[in-house]
Symmetry: C2
Subunit: 218 residues, 2 copies
């Protein structure tokens, strides 16, 4: 009953997921041109499907399409990255606040479990898993806080900085501070202390932003 609106996974969807992952994981270099025919062969689907995927990627701003030339993988400049982290901070802080006010026991145990999973994945070096669990962690916060639109925006913003996120996460994870920050957020939520939770969240994001910006000009 979770998502009974589009149960059947279409070819276009799975192709889109593959392309998204390929872009965010850096299999395509930023600025690289994406040629329809080549993608058709690589993914084993027709041009129709590829074109629909490209339109989707275009409106997600993962690629930039020029008429009669085709799409290229979007590049990130420091200003954009900086702004993306600032917006994320606003949205996440707001969600954390709302969550702290209404969170019940179920939500809190969920969050604690995710923290645990994230720590474990990070210590074992499984970045991909850590990213996925971090996503679930924040998703729980946003949903609990009733911020579904904001969550959607955050996901879009995150997909645009996908490459950087892997770096920031592993960097934050290597230090002790990263998971500690998340635990601080959960503790404050548990205590229904919105201000403290908001501040912990803001600090975590500011830290991530610094790491991302450093990574970007390297």
């Amino acid at each position: 009953m979770l998502s009974n609106l589009k149960r059947p996974i279409t070819l276009k969807e799975s192709a889109l997921n593959e392309l998204k992952e390929a872009i965010t994981l850096g299999y395509f270099a930023p600025g690289e041109r994406l040629v329809e025919r080549v993608l058709c062969e690589q993914l084993g689907v027709s041009r129709t499907v590829i074109r629909e995927c490209i339109r989707h990627l275009e409106s997600d701003q993962l690629v930039i399409a020029k008429a009669n030339v085709g799409p290229t993988v979007a590049t990130l400049n420091p200003e954009e990255v900086s702004e993306i982290y600032e917006i994320r901070s606003m949205l996440e802080v707001s969600a954390v606040r709302s969550c702290a006010l209404v969170a019940d026991e179920t939500v809190i145990t969920d969050l604690e479990n995710y923290c645990d999973l994230i720590s474990r994945s990070l210590t074992s070096g499984n970045i991909k898993e850590a990213l996925s669990d971090t996503r679930l962690f924040y998703q729980s916060i946003f949903i609990a806080g009733g911020k579904t639109v904001a969550w959607d925006l955050v996901e879009r913003l995150n997909s645009r900085i996908g490459q950087l996120r892997a770096v920031t996460l592993s960097s934050q994870g290597r230090s002790v501070a990263g998971p500690k920050n998340l635990l601080a957020i959960v503790a404050a939520i548990k205590a229904h202390d919105a201000d403290t939770a908001a501040q912990a969240c803001a600090e975590h994001l500011a830290q991530a932003k610094e790491i991302a910006l450093n990574e970007l000009d390297s």
Copy 2:
């Protein structure tokens, strides 16, 4: 030089614009099904083009596509609308703050001109023109404040509440308060008074939110 990246307007682009306008202006009822073949005839283009348009609208969340059934015009519930206005408020307040800190004479005269245009359009009952000028007003603020990513998000959010915006704008315009609020923002920006500008902006948005929510359950 504004958008020299995609000068050639393709069929798909113009069809997409027509569809967007048709949806945001309410020519299609919320929840109504969009049938490919019908759209092909109405717009005089092939299914290929229509399908790409639908994918684009889908990822803009103006339509909701169900696999094997097709797209329907998205409906708005009060929670979504409320959240959209809250997010807009966060983003716009932030942009107004930045703008107030850096705005030069050029920006300010632009803003004053737009205010004038908006007032005139509203008194003459030209809502469409007023919407367009309001867009330019805020765009100037965001660009001046260096918030290009945020501006993009605001435009997406606005397109989702397109029907409501026409109502709120004309409602705010009928009262004297609406244009007065905008003038207050400009005055504060002119004085480089970020706090006052931010507050005026927040009030304006809160007002718009109320009107929109009232309209929604009528």
